[in-house]
Assembly symmetry: C2
Homo-oligomer: 278 residues x 2
DNA sequence: CCAAAAGTGTTCAACCTACACCCATGC
DNA sequence: GCATGGGTGTAGGTTGAACACTTTTGG
């Protein structure tokens, strides 16, 4: 288990271990930009007007992070995403995309927005960067693409193994939400909306569990809330509020740590996960 | 102004005055089922994987109503909707659709859901009804159609003039949400989600004004809330809550009515409309 | 003057906030 | 013991539910 002590965090590598895998025949369409892709097959099997973008949230080092990909030809970042097969449920497509790209499975996934502005694909910054790949079909793709269904996902471990085409994506990293780098397209706006929705959902549903280890201390839970809402909370009141919700099991065990009273370990009551509050 | 007295409602006709207009060249694509439509033109100008469905809400006779259309070949109803032009923002498409169909303009419109299940077009009931039109292209349309972006709209007057193809839509009516008839496709589920979202939004934003006349009495406002939330509220507490929000102007004027104390008239403060609460 | 409907006040409980205090632990 | 950090208690304010009371109006 990762030691989350504030004084001496274990130092999870921000830079994700990338494990590039050569682009294969069918399973390559999960990447948001269809480079080196059989266009015919694309048209035949995928919905052409739609794409999916996913905002992956992870919580570590006491901060809320978002997974971002950097285009090899740019210093700008973008969100991961993919396409929807013709005979595939939207939610399934989003899930498949995350599984193919990052091996993620059974994570919390929520659709929160549809980006439908016509102008959204026409970011000149993105155009320039993509044109550097020298591929004609990207030009076409940019002018064709229209609607993006946006999901956010909760990931409880920052240690991912990404499968991306290294020629296109040169870097993938968890970035703290307070320190977002320049982003392509309308992805900044999408992330902002995702954070807003995450804040709403944290208030209404028992979803913190998807961002934490199975057991955690009360201060750890509080720091998660502070990271998501970007504000300090009063310790004693936070504790009472959480306990009064009656969604936590206190485990007799205690952490062993520094020179101070040992905190209790808590766990979300299994029956209460997926429950709505209020 | 419509007399909303509970004892003797004026009796707005539930059945909408339909004013059928012959299908013209371009402006006919607003109807959710492309019958008698130039398929080539459709493919050329519209996004093929998407449709829009709109849940129109109206409040009258102390009840929340939804606008439903009945297929001529069925006793089932469906939601109005339309398609998205290739170079058109999603929100604009939804607005254009309502303007073309019902002459509505500058109304409150909110996107709330995306219906993305593959099975959603395969309602056998709908298939049967549509096949009765004897048109081959409907079969194709049913197997092609995939994703529906769902909007809800707030309409403050039930008196609409609909433009629909009478050969296909034989009836259009405002139906109280507690008395929904059998619906085609997944439209029942979509309406339920729309109501849930409307309830959330009524709590968070100043949108009641889009369902009422410009001026109204406190009991009228309360009845709107009771219709939306499907539950009785305590009169005195409702009044205090609304006044404490500080979003209402009390107009000195009073209603003239029955043998009882005359209520004040209120109006939403213009500056507070579109404001978020909480 | 009475019934009916609208507006106002009062009480009580629940909850939130701030802050003080107590407990456990390693040095 | 004492600094540090986790856990609990308490006083004051706010909010909302329930319900009683007052005001206005037509008959």
């Amino acid at each position: 288990m990762i030691n989350r002590s504030s004084k001496n965090p274990l130092g999870v590598t921000l830079l994700i271990q990338m494990n590039p895998i050569p682009m294969a025949t069918t399973d390559t369409y999960y990447f948001p930009i269809p480079v080196n892709v059989d266009e015919k097959m694309m048209q035949q099997h995928f919905l052409s007007d739609l794409s999916i973008n996913s905002v992956l949230f992870s919580y570590h080092e006491e901060r809320l992070h978002v997974l971002l990909l950097r285009l090899a030809t740019s210093d700008h970042f973008m969100l991961p995403g993919g396409f929807v097969k013709k005979e595939e449920d939207l939610d399934d497509a989003a899930m498949r995309n995350l599984k193919e790209m990052a091996g993620l499975d059974q994570i919390y996934l929520e659709q929160f927005y549809v980006a439908g502005q016509t102008g959204r694909a026409y970011d000149p910054m993105a155009r320039d960067a993509l044109n550097k790949f020298g591929l004609k079909k990207i030009e076409k793709w940019l002018s064709d693409r229209k609607i993006s269904i946006c999901y956010y996902a909760l990931v409880n471990s920052p240690e991912l193994q990404l499968k991306v085409n290294e020629a296109i994506i040169s870097e993938a990293r968890w970035v703290p939400v307070e320190e977002l780098p320049p982003l392509l397209f309308d992805h900044k706006m999408i992330i902002d909306k995702a954070i807003g929705r995450l804040q709403l959902d944290m208030d209404r549903k028992v979803i913190s569990t998807y961002l934490l280890n199975e057991t955690f201390t009360m201060p750890e839970l509080q720091k998660l809330y502070e990271a998501v809402y970007q504000q300090k909370l009063t310790r004693s009141n936070f504790q009472r509020r959480m306990l009064n919700l009656n969604i936590l099991d206190r485990l007799g065990k205690r952490n062993d740590g520094g020179s101070h009273r040992a905190p209790y370990l808590y766990r979300f009551k299994p029956s209460k996960i997926e429950m709505n509050l209020n």
